[in-house]
């Protein structure tokens, strides 16, 4: 039988790989898949954690995450795209160089984590949460496509929940998660869907 801690570590590592996958792909559909897969993994983590510690908050959290973030957000995003959505890709992207930067950032983040927070939270789960958060930031900062930037935001959300679960379940974790999801839905439903898919340089917004 697989020890529980190893199962947690395995799920968190998978989440990290998905974060790296988000950096590589230039097709927009990949980004939506990243949202669904990473969120599902987090949901499984929260569910397992909830069942084994008999913490009902975490079980509720698992269902909320999969429903709001995994299904509803992805469903609304998919509606934005035409029939042949598999062919939609970011207009200009420097994916190979971003991948190298991403790996360098990953190593640097782990070193920083080891030197600072590790002494208070010596857990690989929190380290992975920290790394995914920085990868999410990188995704937002280096891309212009709004769906990709939004994926970065969701990655950050997932990372924060993982970080908090890794240390110990933070009080208000369900409320925090729901609020982050509501904000994500506001971003998607009201702002992202009513504008262009690429962040624009506008004369009025310069200076």
């Amino acid at each position: 039988m697989i020890p529980l801690q190893e199962a947690y570590d395995f799920i968190a590592t998978l989440m990290l790989f998905v974060a790296i996958w988000a950096q590589i792909g230039s097709y927009v559909i990949t980004k939506i898949e990243v949202i669904v897969i990473q969120t599902s993994l987090l949901s499984i983590y929260a569910f397992l954690s909830g069942v084994t510690t008999v913490n009902y908050d975490l079980i509720i959290l698992a269902f909320l995450i999969i429903f709001l973030r995994g299904i509803l957000t992805a469903f609304i995003l998919l509606k934005k795209f035409p029939q042949k959505r598999q062919l939609v890709r970011e207009k200009s992207t420097t994916v190979p160089s971003i991948l190298i930067v991403s790996i360098i950032v990953l190593i640097a983040t782990l070193i920083i984590y080891r030197l600072t927070i590790f002494q208070f939270a010596p857990s690989p789960i929190t380290a992975i949460g920290f790394v995914i958060a920085i990868q999410g930031l990188l995704l937002i900062g280096t891309r212009k496509n709004k769906v990709t930037q939004f994926t970065g935001y969701i990655e950050e959300e997932n990372a924060m929940i993982l970080l908090s679960l890794g240390i110990f379940p933070l009080p208000l974790i369900v409320e925090i998660s729901v609020l982050l999801d509501v904000l994500a839905l506001v971003i998607v439903a009201a702002v992202l869907l009513s504008g262009k898919m690429t962040s624009e340089h506008m004369e009025e917004l310069i200076g």
Partner: protein, 451 residues
């Protein structure tokens, strides 16, 4: 339940109840009445003794912010009633009002709640409730500005969550009053918590270099929303950062805060002279005011009093500046300062409110902002921080001269004596004027011992 607690609940419940006016036909009237009730409640709360009430907390900073939030909210509701007359779809206006009420609820909640986790939730909720306020007219620029606002701010705030997690890891509680009153010895974990709070909440406050959403959102939002963002939302975020600062305080954290504050002032001083858009100019001025407020709060002593004076004066002064900018946009149809001339002859009342508010927000003597700045500088000198004082004085001088020069050109340049005056709704004139009078009167309120 004691009476004080009832008033605190009322402060939160009133805006929530009136937000349901979306489903009726009297949303404008209900909004006006509701906002006035909120002002009345906030004045009652001024009499509530400082302390902890169930999950809430009243202290010397948040009681002042509650007053400024409620009054600017009322001003904005009245201003919006005529400012958005051009909107053809009444449903959008009703939604706009309802979101304004919810926005105020989230700010009040953030101010009075006595829990760092819930405080974070409150600040994040202000983003969710205010994002849609930017896009009432559904223009391309507004949507892009709203996108940048929600993405940058929520990303920053997600980082601030690390601070909440670390504070819980250290103290095993999130009760802000217990944590702050218990005191602590400096530790690396709290330093990291302080820095992540600074980066996270600093994004919302508009500290350099996380400020990039601020000029876009303030520049493109409807004027009453810009007034609420600048006058009350950012000070609320500064208050939250201040509470986190108290929980994580150490010499190292204070130094890091000081570096970011100085960087913000230098950045604004460098960019201000090249501004062409009137609302963006005032947005950058807000960055300067926020940097000073944060500096005053963390320095303590007389600087703390200075920060409180700036919070109040800035709330009304900057609101008056944005209302005046809205009046100009309504009549001239542009935000480009190069195309705005002869305000003295064409919009005399707005010329007065714009000039007066510019004097207030730039800290010209003898207005209260000047007194606040003076107290902050005095305390810094007393603490032996001479280098920051030098940077502050130089930056404030450049910023003030830039703003006043641009405003003076718009008001006094161009001979328009024979040109007819432009028509403007009376409510908009009165709101801008009244807001300015409030900004002027703060010093008398302070000297009269009412604060």
């Amino acid at each position: 339940m004691n009476t004080d607690l009832i008033f605190l609940y009322l402060l939160l419940i009133v805006p929530v109840i009136i937000s349901f006016s979306y489903f009726g036909n009297l949303s404008q009237e209900i909004a006006k009445l509701g906002s006035l009730i909120e002002v009345a409640i906030s004045f009652v709360i001024l009499e509530v003794p400082m302390g902890v009430y169930s999950s809430f907390n009243i202290n010397s900073v948040n009681r002042i912010l509650i007053i400024s939030v409620s009054i600017v909210y009322a001003f904005s509701v009245f201003f919006a009633s005529t400012y958005h007359k051009g909107i053809k779809e009444p449903r959008h206006l009703k939604l706009h009002y309802s979101l304004m009420h919810l926005f105020v609820f989230t700010m009040m909640f953030t101010l009075i709640i006595n829990d760092f986790g819930l405080m974070w939730i409150g600040i994040e909720a202000t983003t969710a409730s205010s994002a849609l306020l930017l896009i009432i007219e559904r223009e391309r620029n507004q949507i892009e500005a709203a996108w940048r606002y929600v993405l940058i701010v929520s990303t920053g705030l997600t980082l601030a969550l690390i601070s909440v997690i670390l504070i819980y890891l250290y103290y095993h509680t999130l009760n802000s009053v217990s944590i702050i009153s218990a005191g602590h010895s400096p530790s690396l974990i709290l330093t990291i918590a302080g820095v992540t709070a600074m980066v996270g909440f600093g994004t919302k406050i508009g500290l350099f270099p996380m400020h990039s959403w601020l000029p876009d959102a303030h520049g493109e939002a409807p004027s009453e929303v810009s007034a609420m963002f600048s006058g009350i939302l950012l000070p609320v975020a500064a208050y939250v950062l201040y509470r986190f600062f108290l929980a994580t305080f150490s010499g190292r954290v204070e130094e890091i805060f000081l570096i970011f504050i100085m960087a913000t002032l230098i950045f604004v001083a460098l960019i201000m002279p090249s501004q062409k858009n009137i609302k963006r100019m005032f947005a950058y001025s807000t960055m300067e005011n926020m940097a000073l407020i944060t500096l005053g709060l963390i320095t303590g002593g007389l600087a703390f009093v200075g920060a409180l004076l700036i919070i109040l004066t800035h709330a009304f002064g900057k609101s008056a500046a944005f209302y005046s900018s809205g009046n100009i946009l309504n009549t001239y149809g542009t935000k480009d300062m190069n195309k705005i001339r002869g305000l003295r002859d064409r919009l005399p009342s707005t010329a007065i409110s714009l000039f007066g508010s510019s004097l207030v927000v730039t800290g010209a003597p003898p207005f209260t902002t000047f007194v606040g700045e003076f107290l902050i500088i005095y305390q810094l000198i007393k603490n032996g921080n001479i280098a920051p004082v030098f940077i502050i004085v130089v930056c404030l001088f450049i910023i003030s001269v830039s703003v006043l020069q641009k405003v003076s050109v718009m008001i006094f340049d161009g001979n328009m004596e024979n040109t007819p005056q432009l028509k403007l709704e009376r409510t908009q004139k009165y709101v801008a004027g009244l807001s300015l009078i409030f900004a002027f009167s703060i010093i008398f309120v302070y000297l009269g011992g009412l604060l």
